[in-house]
Symmetry: T
Subunit: 146 residues, 12 copies
Amino acid sequence: MTNILVVHGPNLNMLGLREPEIYGRTTLDEINKSLLEISRIRGAELRIVQSNHEGLLVDAVQEARTWAHGIVVNAGGLTHTSVALRDALSAVALPFVEVHLSNIFKREAFRQHSFLSDVALGVVCGFGWRSYGIGLNGLLDVIISI
Amino acid sequence: MTNILVVHGPNLNMLGLREPEIYGRTTLDEINKSLLEISRIRGAELRIVQSNHEGLLVDAVQEARTWAHGIVVNAGGLTHTSVALRDALSAVALPFVEVHLSNIFKREAFRQHSFLSDVALGVVCGFGWRSYGIGLNGLLDVIISI
Amino acid sequence: MTNILVVHGPNLNMLGLREPEIYGRTTLDEINKSLLEISRIRGAELRIVQSNHEGLLVDAVQEARTWAHGIVVNAGGLTHTSVALRDALSAVALPFVEVHLSNIFKREAFRQHSFLSDVALGVVCGFGWRSYGIGLNGLLDVIISI
Amino acid sequence: MTNILVVHGPNLNMLGLREPEIYGRTTLDEINKSLLEISRIRGAELRIVQSNHEGLLVDAVQEARTWAHGIVVNAGGLTHTSVALRDALSAVALPFVEVHLSNIFKREAFRQHSFLSDVALGVVCGFGWRSYGIGLNGLLDVIISI
Amino acid sequence: MTNILVVHGPNLNMLGLREPEIYGRTTLDEINKSLLEISRIRGAELRIVQSNHEGLLVDAVQEARTWAHGIVVNAGGLTHTSVALRDALSAVALPFVEVHLSNIFKREAFRQHSFLSDVALGVVCGFGWRSYGIGLNGLLDVIISI
Amino acid sequence: MTNILVVHGPNLNMLGLREPEIYGRTTLDEINKSLLEISRIRGAELRIVQSNHEGLLVDAVQEARTWAHGIVVNAGGLTHTSVALRDALSAVALPFVEVHLSNIFKREAFRQHSFLSDVALGVVCGFGWRSYGIGLNGLLDVIISI
Amino acid sequence: MTNILVVHGPNLNMLGLREPEIYGRTTLDEINKSLLEISRIRGAELRIVQSNHEGLLVDAVQEARTWAHGIVVNAGGLTHTSVALRDALSAVALPFVEVHLSNIFKREAFRQHSFLSDVALGVVCGFGWRSYGIGLNGLLDVIISI
Amino acid sequence: MTNILVVHGPNLNMLGLREPEIYGRTTLDEINKSLLEISRIRGAELRIVQSNHEGLLVDAVQEARTWAHGIVVNAGGLTHTSVALRDALSAVALPFVEVHLSNIFKREAFRQHSFLSDVALGVVCGFGWRSYGIGLNGLLDVIISI
Amino acid sequence: MTNILVVHGPNLNMLGLREPEIYGRTTLDEINKSLLEISRIRGAELRIVQSNHEGLLVDAVQEARTWAHGIVVNAGGLTHTSVALRDALSAVALPFVEVHLSNIFKREAFRQHSFLSDVALGVVCGFGWRSYGIGLNGLLDVIISI
Amino acid sequence: MTNILVVHGPNLNMLGLREPEIYGRTTLDEINKSLLEISRIRGAELRIVQSNHEGLLVDAVQEARTWAHGIVVNAGGLTHTSVALRDALSAVALPFVEVHLSNIFKREAFRQHSFLSDVALGVVCGFGWRSYGIGLNGLLDVIISI
Amino acid sequence: MTNILVVHGPNLNMLGLREPEIYGRTTLDEINKSLLEISRIRGAELRIVQSNHEGLLVDAVQEARTWAHGIVVNAGGLTHTSVALRDALSAVALPFVEVHLSNIFKREAFRQHSFLSDVALGVVCGFGWRSYGIGLNGLLDVIISI
Amino acid sequence: MTNILVVHGPNLNMLGLREPEIYGRTTLDEINKSLLEISRIRGAELRIVQSNHEGLLVDAVQEARTWAHGIVVNAGGLTHTSVALRDALSAVALPFVEVHLSNIFKREAFRQHSFLSDVALGVVCGFGWRSYGIGLNGLLDVIISI
C-alpha cells in the first residue's frame, strides 16, 4: 500500500468562491473527492490536510515522515514565502510533487519564484483542478516504479 | 448598517511599549476605543482582531466575507512578507484600506514593499495612531458613496 | 488660525476630463471647493496653487515658509521625478502630506517611487477625490495636536 | 477525433545517450511509443516532430494550425532562447502543454526562465520520460472537457 | 482639415549649431519649413511650439485637446525624464508620434528609456531631420485612415 | 537604380491570421505589394525574403552585400534574440532600417530590447503595416541623399 | 540571576533526523541539555521554546519582556522570511544572539540574508550544535559585563 | 577678459535658511560676493543667474554660447534629474565646472548620480560655500592655460 | 590518430571581408589551411564545418560523437545565445576548446557572456586568426596527455 | 599540543584608538593577552600576526600550513576585498574561524559581503573584543573533537 | 603651523609617462613641487608619500594621526578597491580631500565608485595636475577656518 | 631578442600543493622550467616574478617598461580585485596575455570578472599548467609578427 499526504495551503478552502476567473469553480471538497477516487483505483491511501497556518502545515509534513511514501502539495501563498515549509519537506526526505491550479507564469512576478520547486520531484501547474490529479498520478507512477 | 473588520497584525499588541520613538505612546486599546467612537458616530459596526499568528488573521479575513462591508488592516511585519494574507483579502473581494502608524517610506528598504497595497482600495501611513481613524473614515466614505 | 498651502502639480487642471477611469469625474474646482469647506469648518485658511511648471511650484512652496503651517501636495507626475520640489519641501521645514487620487501601487512601476514620501509627514492614496480631504483633515489633526 | 502535435526540440534525439544522470536512459523512440499508446487508448491522433532546427519547429507549429487541437512541446534548449517559437505557438492559438524531463528548477539559472510558460496552458516537469505522458493526458483532459 | 501640433522640446532651438556630428547641420527653421510643406501638400494644418520649459510644453499639449487631431513630438531631454509630459499626452488622448533625429539606441544608456514611447502611437528615430517628416507623414496616414 | 533587400523574420508569413488585435489584418502579401508599389514609384528594385529560419535570413543578408544598397528588416522574434543576424547586418555594412508593426514599447519587457537597433540607421515602429512603407521611404530618402 | 530565553524555530525539533550531512546527528534534546549545563555553571536560568509556528515564537519573545535579560535564537527558516519575529525582538529591546548550526554562507543564496542579524547583538554560525553554547556563553559574558 | 556664467539651480536662493546642518549658514548673496571678489582679482567678468525653473536655466546656458568662456554650475536638485540642462551644457560646448556645497557622496543614493558630471570639465564638492570659489578658481586656471 | 571537429558559426564565412578592424583580414580558407597544416604536423585528422544555421551546427556536433576525440569551436554570434549548441556539446561529452578571434572582453557587454565557456575544457581569445591554431594545439596537447 | 595562528588584518593595530563607538576601547595588546590566556588554559600554542599588508598576511597563512592546526582571522577591511587572502586560506586547507568585533550586519552594505565566510568553518561577530575569544574557544572545541 | 600629508597611490609615480591623453604630461615631481610652493606660501608643512603598496599607504595614514592636521589623497586604483585605506582614513579621524587628475565620471564604470568619497571632507576631480593644488588649497581653507 | 616578463600572483607559489583537484599537481618550478624551455627554443629572454604582494607585482610591471616586449600574467586572486595592477599594465603599454590554469567560467561567480581582460591582448584559460605555455607561444607569435 502506498501512502500519500495531500497538503492544501492557505485560502484553498475558499476554492470555488475565490476569484473564479483565476481558480475556477470547483470546490476543495470536489477536488479531494477526485483524489480519493484516483487513490482508490490505484490502491493508495490518502491523508488530506488544509490549513491557513504555516505551522500546522509544517507539523503535518513532519509527521508524514513516519507513515507516508510521498506528498502532493499546493502551498498557496506560502509557495512564494515559506522557507520553513521547504525545510520541512527537505527534512522528511520524501518525494513530493508541487501543484498549482493556475499557470503561475501568467501571473504577478512574485508568484514566479517558488521556495519548493528546486527540492520537489516535479511540478505541475495550469490545469485547474485537474493539476492535483495529474500530480498525484505522476507521483504514484514514480513511487511505484522505484 | 455598515460592518467593518479591523485587523491588527503581529506586535501591534505591544503599541505604547514598543519603540515609542517610531510608533508613539498610544496603546492598542486606546486606538480601538477611538475607532469604536468613530464607528458609533457614523453608525457602523466594528469587529476587531489582533493576532501574532498569520493563520488566525487569514481565518478572520475569510470569515469577514459573510458579514463585513470593508476592512481596515495594519498587518504589521506581515505587510512585507505575507502572500497568504494578500490572497485572503483578494479572495473575500471586500474593499480594504491599508494603514501604518509610521511613515514606512522613512524606514528600512524592506518596509517599502507591501504585498497588500496593490490590491487595496487605498493606503494611509505616517499619521501615528491617527492613521487608523483616517483610514476608517475614508473607507466609510467610499463604501457609503457606492 | 492654521494656514495651509494646497499644491496641485501638472495635469491636475485636467481632472474630470483626463482618463476618468483612473482619476474619476470630479473636477479640480470641485475638489478645491470641498477643501475650502473643510478648512472653513475647522477654522483653517487655505491657499491653493496649481501649475504645470515645476519652477512655479517650487516658488510657491518656498514662499509658504513665511505664512503656512503645513502643506497638502499632489505633485502629479513630478512626484516621481522632481528632486527640486522635494528639496523645496525639505527647505521650508513644514509638515506636509502627500496625496494621490489613484492607488499608485496598482499602476506603472515608475509611479511606485515618490521623491516626496520619505520627507513627508504622511501619505494618502487611492480614495479618488476624497484623498485630498482625508489628507487635509489628517494634517490639521497633527498640526493642532502639536 | 482529437489531433495533437508533439514537438521535440534540439538534442532530444540524443535521449538515452545524453547525460543519463540528468535525462535518464529512456530513448526518444521509447517515449514516442508510450505517447502513441496513450493516444490510441484515448482515441487521439498524434503527429510527432523532432528537429535541431528552430526554423523547422516553427514551420511545424504553424502548420498545426490547420489540423491540430493541441500541442505538447519540449523545446529543449530553445525553451530558454526562442521568441520565434513562442510567437509561433501564440500565432496558432492552440492550447499547448510545456514539458521537461528534468526538474528545471534544480538546474542552471538560465534554465529557469522559459519563453513558453506564460503563453502555455500548463507546465509539467521533473517526472523524467513520464513528463510527456502526464502532459499529454492533461492536455487531452482539458481539450475534451472544453 | 486635419490639425497637428508639432512639439519641439529643450535645446532643439540649437539645431544646426549643437553637436552637428550627432544632430546634423539642419536648423529647426529648416525642419519646420519642410513640415509645413508636407502639411500643405497633404491638406493639414500645423501649429508648432518649441520651448526649453517643460511647463510650457505641458500647457501646449493640454490646449491641443480642443483643436488638434494628432501630435508629433520630439521632447529632447525631457523624453527621458518627464512624467508630466507623458501624463499630458495621455490626458488629451490624441494619437501622437515620437520622433528623434539621432538613433537613440546608439547613445548613452539613459537615452534608451523614453517615458513617451509606450503611450505613443508610433516611434521614428535615426533619420536625422527627416525623422520629423517621416513621423508626420505616418501620423497623417493613420489619422486619415481611421 | 537603388536595390533594397526586404527581410521578414519568423511568423511574419502568418500576418493577417496571427493575433490580429496586435498585428492587424493585413497579410504579408498585401504588405509586399505596397512595398513594390513604393519602389516602382521611386525607381528602386526590391528583393523580398521571408523565412522562419535564422540561418536563411543570415544567408540572405550576407548575399545582399553584392547587389543591395540598403535593407529593410522586420526580424520578428529574432529581433530580441539573434546576435547572428545582427552580426550579418554589421558584416555587410549596408544602411538598414528596423521596422515593427506593433509598438514594441507597449508589449512584454523582453520585446523592448533589440539586438539590431544600435547598429541600424533608424527604427520605425507602431504604425501597423504602414511601418514597412514608412521605413522603406525613409531609407530611400537617406540613400539617395548620400 | 540572569534569565535567558532560548528560541528554536521551525524544524529544529527534527535535529538529528534531518539532513544530518548539513545539521549533524545531535538532537535538540542533547543541545538543550548542554545549554542547561552551561547555564547551571554560570548561574543563569533558561527557558526554552521550540515551535513550528511563527505566531507562538512571536508570543514567546513578547512575554520574555517581563522576565528575561537576553535571548538566544535560532529561527530556522523564519530567519530569512519573518519580519514579525524581527519586530518582536526589536519590540522587547533585549540583547539577543542569533545562532545557526550550519555555516549559512556555504548554502543557498536565500539563506544568506537574515531579517534578524542587523538588530542582533551578535551572530554565531557554522560550529554545528556547539553554535548554541558558544552563543549563550557570549551573550552571558556581555550581559554580565554591562 | 575671461567671461564666466555662474548658474545656481533650484532652492539655492534658500541658502543660509535651508537645512543649515547640511548646507551651512552662508547666504547666496554672500557666496556671490565672494565669487565677484575672486573674479575681480583675476580679471574675469561674472554673470550670475539663479532660478527654480529648469527652462530658465537652459535658456541662460544657451545664451552663454555667445559671450562666455566657461560656466560654474550648481544645479541643485536638477543635477540628478535634468537631461535638458545636461544637453544645454553640451550644446554650448563650453568648459564647465560642477560644484556642490555638501559632499553628495555622504547623502541619499539618488544624489550620487549626476547627469552633468560626465560632460563636465571637473567636479568639486563638500567644501561648503567654498566649493564655488574653489571651482571658479580651477576653471579660470584651466581656461587661461589653454 | 586523433580526430578533431572544427566548428565555425554564423558569419565566419565572411572573415577577411567583415569588419576587418575587429576580425582582421585573414579569410576562413586561410585559417582552415593553417589548421590543416598543424593537424598534419601533429598527426591529427580534421573535419571542418561552417554554417549560418544553428541546427546544422547542432547536427554536426551530435555526429562527432561517433568519430571525434575533441572539438574546436568558434560559434560566432551563437556563442552568446544558443543553449541548443551548448547542450549538444555537453551531450557528446567530448573535450572542446572555445576560440574567438577578437578579445570579447573589449567589446559589447552581451558578448561577454558565453553559453559555452563553463562546459568547455578551455577558452582562447584575442589572438586574431592565431586563436584557432593556439586552441587546436592546446586541445591536442591535453587529449594526447590523457 | 594544538597550534593556532591568529591573524589581525589592516588597522586592527589601531584598536582602542580607532572609532571607539564602533570598535570599543580595548587595545589589540589586551585582546592578544586574553587569547594567550585562553590558549594557556586549554593547552594550545598561539602565534599572532598583525599587518596592514595583504601580502604579509598571505605569507603568514601559507606558512601556517607547516605547523598550525587552525586559524582565527579578523581580516579587517580585507574581509570584503581580498580574494588573495581567501585563496591562501583555502590553499592551506586548515579549519579557520572568521571573527569581527562589530556586528557587520549593522554597518555599510559593502561590509556585509565577506570573501572568507563561505570557506570558513564558522563566523562570530558583534561581541566586541570578546568575539576573538569566543571564536578561539569554538575553533579549539571543534579541532579537539575531530 | 598646519601639517598636511599628501598620499599618492599606485602608478602615480608613472605620471607624465603613463597614458598622457588621460593623465597629462606633468610628472609627479612637478606636482609635488607645485604643492610645496602652495604650502610654503600658506605657511603649511607637507609630507609626501607615494607607494604602489596598499600596506605602506595604510601605515603612512596611521602615522599621520600623531602629527598631521589633514590629508590630500589620490589613491589611484586603490580608490575603487581598498576598504583598508578607507578604514585607515576613518581611524585617524583627520579631514581629508580626495583628488583625481582625470574626471572619473567620464571613464570606466568601475572608476565611478570610490571607497573614500563618503568619508572624505570633499572631492576634486578633472582639473588634471591642478586637482592637487585645488584640493590642497581647499583643505587648508577649511582647516584654518575651523 | 624578444624579452618577456612572466608574472605569477598570490598563492601560485603553492601550486602542486594547493587544491590539486582545481589546479593540478604541477609545481610552479616545473611551469617555469617549461616556459624557459619554450623561450630558449624561440630565442626569447624571460624574467619571472612571483609574489603575494600586489605592490611588488605593480613595481615589477612598471620596471618592465624599460626592457620587455610583452608580459604573460596570471594574477591569481588579484585578477578579480586589483585596479592597481590593471593600471600598471595599461601604464607600461606592452602587449600582455592573461592566463589561468583553471577554467574560471566553471568556478565561483566572482572569478568570472577580471580587471585585466579588457586591456589584455588575449586570454587563455582552462588548460592547466599548459595555459602558460600556450599563452607565451601566442604572445611571441603576435609580437614577432608585428
